[in-house]
């Protein structure tokens, strides 16, 4: 209990454990049913606190969310880059088309129009991914608020981090941290 007499969330399972102990000490018919229910609640609160602790640990919540957000933003950047390269090519074709006879010129012009129209996918996917990023950020804030409501926790939970060869699967690398082909060649050569 707090000084004001209100039961705080971090105290809840300790409080339940004390009540369970007191109930066990008294003689009362049917007390076992109530004790079982309270033990279930106490165990459930303990497990929830443990899970929240895992989310707050270094290998959990914030890193997971920021990495996911970065990955999504990288998708937007990569697709924009690819789209612009496609349009570079289409514009080059359009310039050549202008020098041709009407028949092939019109055919090429129609083809480039189709390319421009199809390139709009990048705008649509970009907007959808932005919405997902915002949803993730909102979820992260709500989890942080939930973790805060549970008070100080034992953050002893270790996330199920991949081990062995599975731990090597982290690609594709983010552009800002990725090694270039030159870096790879140098590393490869240095390994003999």
């Amino acid at each position: 209990m707090s000084q004001s007499g209100t039961l705080q969330l971090p105290d809840a399972h300790g409080y339940l454990d004390r009540v369970i102990g007191e109930l066990r000490a008294i003689e009362a018919p049917h007390k076992n049913t109530l004790v079982n229910v309270l033990e279930y609640l106490s165990g459930h609160i303990r497990a929830t606190r443990s899970e929240i602790g895992a989310l707050r640990s270094g290998s959990g919540n914030s890193q997971m969310f920021s990495t996911t957000t970065d990955e999504l933003e990288e998708i937007v950047t990569e697709t924009a880059r690819a789209t612009n390269r496609i349009m570079d090519a289409a514009e080059a074709v359009e310039k050549v088309a202008a020098t041709l006879e009407p028949g092939p010129a019109n055919a090429l012009m129609d083809a480039t129009t189709n390319i421009y129209e199809a390139s709009a996918f990048q705008d649509i996917t970009g907007q959808r991914i932005t919405k997902i990023v915002r949803a993730l950020q909102s979820l992260e804030e709500k989890l942080a608020a939930l973790a805060s409501a549970f008070g100080p926790l034992d953050e002893t939970f270790v996330a199920n981090a991949p081990e062995g060869d599975a731990a090597l699967l982290n690609g594709p690398q983010m552009e800002k941290t990725a090694a270039s082909q030159t870096d790879i060649d140098a590393l490869f050569a240095s390994l003999g």
């Binding site: 924009a80 349009m87 289409a90 199809a118 649509i124």
Partner: protein, 129 residues
């Protein structure tokens, strides 16, 4: 239908790729006098400086949205007569109603094709059709 090839158009979108798509499609409609803005605020200042014949704007931009821009244009005595086409992925009924109430001239849903663009431009200049 034929379009006025000499018209001056301001296109507004925060995705540079979409600006490029719009510019290319307009060029294929032989509309070459095109200026770009990447947000509503920049566009509004561009319009005030030199009112165009047509505005084609995205909706979802920050901090000044396409709807905000439309409202500013319609509230500005110098600009309120300019045809304004919204090109957006916002396709809910309430969006179209809000844009219509704000005075949009026509509404194109992304993704769109060149024929739709041509038809909507023609629709806001009925005398030219």
């Amino acid at each position: 239908m034929s379009l006025n090839k000499n018209m001056r158009v301001v296109i507004v979108d925060d995705y540079t790729t979409m600006l490029r798509i719009l510019r290319n499609l307009l060029r294929q409609l032989e509309i070459n006098n095109v200026e770009e803005a990447s947000d509503g605020d920049t566009a509004y200042h561009l319009l005030q400086k030199n009112p165009p014949d047509l505005v084609i704007s995205d909706w979802n931009m920050a901090p000044v949205t396409g709807l905000d821009l439309l409202k500013r244009v319609r509230a500005d005595a110098k600009l309120k007569h300019i045809p304004f086409i919204m090109v957006t992925a916002e396709s809910k009924t309430e969006n179209v109603i809000a844009a219509k109430q704000a005075g949009v001239s026509n509404y194109i849903v992304k993704p769109f094709n060149a024929d739709t663009l041509r038809a909507k431009i023609a629709s806001v200049f009925p005398a030219m059709v």
